[in-house]
């Protein structure tokens, strides 16, 4: 369990998350991709805190900020899904192409 292996696992999680966020049609599945991406970021932040930053308490703040971003993304994402479904009866990203050029 070295810093390199931890960051490698985090990189894999981020890569899978990017794939999921870009490939899924369902808006909720897209949010799951973003969550997986943030999961990898959290792992990288924890690894750097423990193995490269001398366990300084300030290092954990970055992870706490990432967790706050996760919570905000989830709450606002669910609210947007509800609002979009009420207005247009769609739950896929294809139904939301109003801004497509």
């Amino acid at each position: 369990m070295t810093l390199h292996t931890l960051l490698l696992v985090a990189a894999l999680l981020v890569g899978i998350g990017v794939y999921g966020a870009l490939s899924q049609q369902s808006i909720v599945m897209l949010m799951m991709g973003l969550e997986l991406l943030l999961n990898g970021l959290l792992l990288a932040a924890g690894a750097l805190w423990a193995l490269a930053a001398d366990f300084t308490p300030r290092g954990q703040l970055l992870a706490i900020v990432i967790m706050a971003v996760m919570a905000v993304e989830m709450a606002v994402g669910f609210a947007v899904v509800v609002a979009v479904y009420r207005q247009r009866r769609v739950d896929t990203t294809e139904g939301l192409d109003t801004l497509r050029g």
């Binding site: 810093l3 931890l6 960051l7 490698l8 990189a11 894999l12 999680l13 981020v14 890569g15 899978i16 998350g17 990017v18 794939y19 999921g20 870009l22 490939s23 899924q24 049609q25 369902s26 909720v28 599945m29 799951m32 969550e35 997986l36 999961n39 792992l43 805190w49 423990a50 193995l51 490269a52 930053a53 001398d54 366990f55 308490p57 300030r58 954990q60 703040l61 706490i64 706050a68 996760m70 919570a71 905000v72 989830m74 709450a75 606002v76 669910f78 609210a79 899904v81 509800v82 609002a83 479904y85 009420r86 207005q87 247009r88 009866r89 739950d91 896929t92 990203t93 294809e94 109003t98």
Partner: protein, 238 residues
Amino acid sequence: MTGADLAFWTLAAIAVITGWRVFRTDSMVRATFFLLTSFVAVGAILLLLAASYLGFALIFMMAVEMTVMALFMVMYMMNPAGLNPMNMIHQPGTAVAAGVGVGAVLAAVALWVPFPHSAAAVPPSDPIAALGHELLGGSMLVFESAGVTLLAAMIGSVVLSSRAGRYGAADEGSLPPGLEPGGEPAGRRPAPADGGHTHMHMGDGTGGHMDMAMDRGGGDGSGDHDHGGHAAPGEGPA
């Protein structure tokens, strides 16, 4: 290989494999629980790294969040239980290329960039107490900003998801009032989607149609009503 190494590799394999399975299963409810498993594995790795507060907070938060997500899957998705094989993927080539590219670049960074090495080999005696003093001491601004951000997100999500929209019930195709009295609605009108929900104005002549919030359009989804009757001549005392 020590016990900690064994635990780390096991948890890392669980995190990555279940993370991959999230997008490779037919059942969307199962996908949420795969994602929960991935989060729990990462939380356990954080526990191995002596970040006990973060690890437990992540596990608890994600247990609740993924349960809510499973509920959303049941409510909104057409195939939550995975009874039919399904493939709801678009732009697969771009997505695979972007995922592999990002993962490869970050993996190269992880493997070949010389990071600083930690001088302290052992964690502090009480990292949770140190974190608490940091949160309510020198870094209180960060902590409070996160709190206010969460509060704003709560208010925003309540506003966004409430049924009573600004110009009437959100699920009945409410439209903003016109720019001049009796004029066309100012907002973008929803395009008549296939089998979808289009707006129907009742045109009952009560009050001149200046206030579209009074509008109770057809929410029956029958899909063949257009936006007619609005400011029609000879209708109502407008």
